[in-house]
Amino acid sequence: MAEPLLRLDGLRKHYGGLAVTDGVSLEVLPGEIHAVIGPNGAGKTTLIHEITGIVAPDEGRVVFAGQDVTRFSLPRRVRAGLARTFQITSVVAGFTARANVALAAQARSGSSFRFFRPAASERRLNDAAMQALAEVGLADRADTPAGALSHGEKRALELAIALATEPRLLLLDEPLAGAGPEETERLIALLTRLKSAYTILLVEHDMQAVFALADRISVLVYGRVIATGTVAEIRGNPEVRAAYLGEDGA
């Protein structure tokens, strides 16, 4: 088996008496889409926060590309190659779509402590931004302020921002949430395309999409991973059906 790109070792986080992640261990292998599913409040977002350094775990380790990053700040992890999108869309509303992505590109290319040249006229950054925007199908919206984009477009923009940081691992927190049927279709097509180029940890409620996209699935219930396996294994796992899939009727 290949060396995992991301390894979580017993991540534990309590809020008061509530163990939101209760000793989560899992591995994401290079090249795979690893989906994390689970009912509302299972701790999926908290888990991504712990992986990216927004929430500090009480116990456990995050090992990324062989390096223990448990004590790294969010920016440092991003520079190491972890990129994420947020469940609640997070873009700079007052910037154009292009400037949003160019910000990520500039974080990747050279120092941002440059004071003289107008950033908006840097060809290299704009080209990188346009490329990422084209990848997510937003090229024609490049000059629109991010705040004026539709919900689905904002989700795609966030994805473009994440891509522009040139990540080795993408962490996507419900990229399809709140998107209309058409947008969902477009986003799924996009994720399918990304699949060949990136390793992805995908949190998603849309089972259709998860079964179509994922190589492996981990099921998180009340902060614990109750099963990890291929799509077929998870669909056939009676415990999972009882604990989770049953409610969906899937």
Binding site: V91, G94, N100, A102, L103, P118, A119
Partner: protein, 307 residues
């Protein structure tokens, strides 16, 4: 930038004024005050509107620059080649030391802690008995430029202040447009987004705070020379409040708004003070009304005209 015709017109008018018969001592004193406060306000606007750091202690960096001039003057150092770097450097160092702590906080805490640091500077200045204490310190002479008494020349000083104001505006605009400024602006709106692309806002904000402080120091250098007098009042929190008011009156969204704000402030204050003894009775409520009704400030009004 097309909407910036008004501040450009103001700068041109300031440039032409001495040639059009407004070159007397009274007028130039008033204009120098406007331009110097305008510089301080523009650098504060860079912080408030650009970086989202609403400092209520900006007058302290102006005051540090002014006191550097006074202290060097007391020790017989009056050459600009030495005084100017010290004034700007002292203000930058002060901003670095206080900013390193203040920028860890945010929102109201930031407003309060910058206020507190401003008060510390104020009390320090008040206790400098060797340099006048509470009463302030009168300079022996204006700073010399390469051994000449250039700053004593009314016209030369006028155009130096004008140049410094234009320079401050240009530098702040350049900074905000640069990579550095892009990070600051993005972090003002959404700090987590900036972190999530791999940049830590803290260091960018601190550098911005220090740069603004250094520009404040430059304003302080000119202020000390304009009035040939320095007192703790120039670093009081009331003065910081006035600077902040100029920024908001002009509109925090545009750097040049601060120039309009400073102009309107000085003109209004001067005119009211001529009309009545207790002019603050009118000035205070006007300030309240401006905040409540004039959202977006004067520059917002101008910009709206231009669609």
């Amino acid at each position: 930038m097309r909407e910036a015709w008004l501040p450009l017109a103001v700068l041109i008018a300031l440039g032409a004024a001495p040639l059009l018969g407004f070159g007397g001592s009274y007028e130039t004193t008033l204009m120098a005050r406007t331009m110097i406060l305008g510089m301080a306000a523009v650098s504060l606007s860079f912080l408030v509107g650009g970086a989202g750091l609403a400092s209520l202690g900006h007058a302290a960096s102006v005051g540090v620059g002014a006191y550097a001039v006074a202290i060097l003057d007391a020790h017989g150092v009056t050459e600009a080649a030495r005084v100017l770097p010290v004034a700007v450097g002292a203000a930058a160092v002060f901003s670095l030391a206080t900013g390193a702590i203040a920028i860890r906080t945010s929102g109201v805490h930031f407003i309060m802690i910058t206020l507190a640091f401003g008060q510390m500077a104020f009390f320090t200045a008040s206790s400098l008995a060797a340099y006048g204490g509470d009463d302030g310190y009168t300079l022996y002479s204006r700073t010399e430029v390469l051994g000449t008494r250039l700053l004593e020349d009314r016209l030369a000083f006028h155009y130096i202040c004008l140049g410094a104001l234009a320079l401050t505006w240009a530098v702040c605009a350049m900074l905000l447009a640069s990579r550095f400024g892009r990070v600051l602006r993005a972090a003002r709106e959404n700090a987590q987004r900036v972190e999530a692309v791999g940049l830590a806002p803290y260091s960018f904000r601190l550098v911005g705070y220090v740069l603004a402080g250094a520009m404040g120091g430059l304003a302080g250098f000119l202020l000390a020379n304009a009035t040939e007098f320095v007192s703790p009042a120039s670093l009081s929190w009331q003065r910081s409040g006035e600077l902040l008011f100029m920024v908001i009156l002009g509109g925090a969204g545009r750097l040049w708004g601060a120039i309009l704000g400073a102009l309107a402030f000085v003109l209004l204050e001067t005119w009211l003070a001529q009309q009545m003894q207790h002019w603050k009775l009118v000035f205070g409520p006007l300030l309240v009304l401006a905040v409540i009704f004039l959202r977006g400030g004067l520059s917002g009004l101008v910009a709206r005209r231009h669609g």
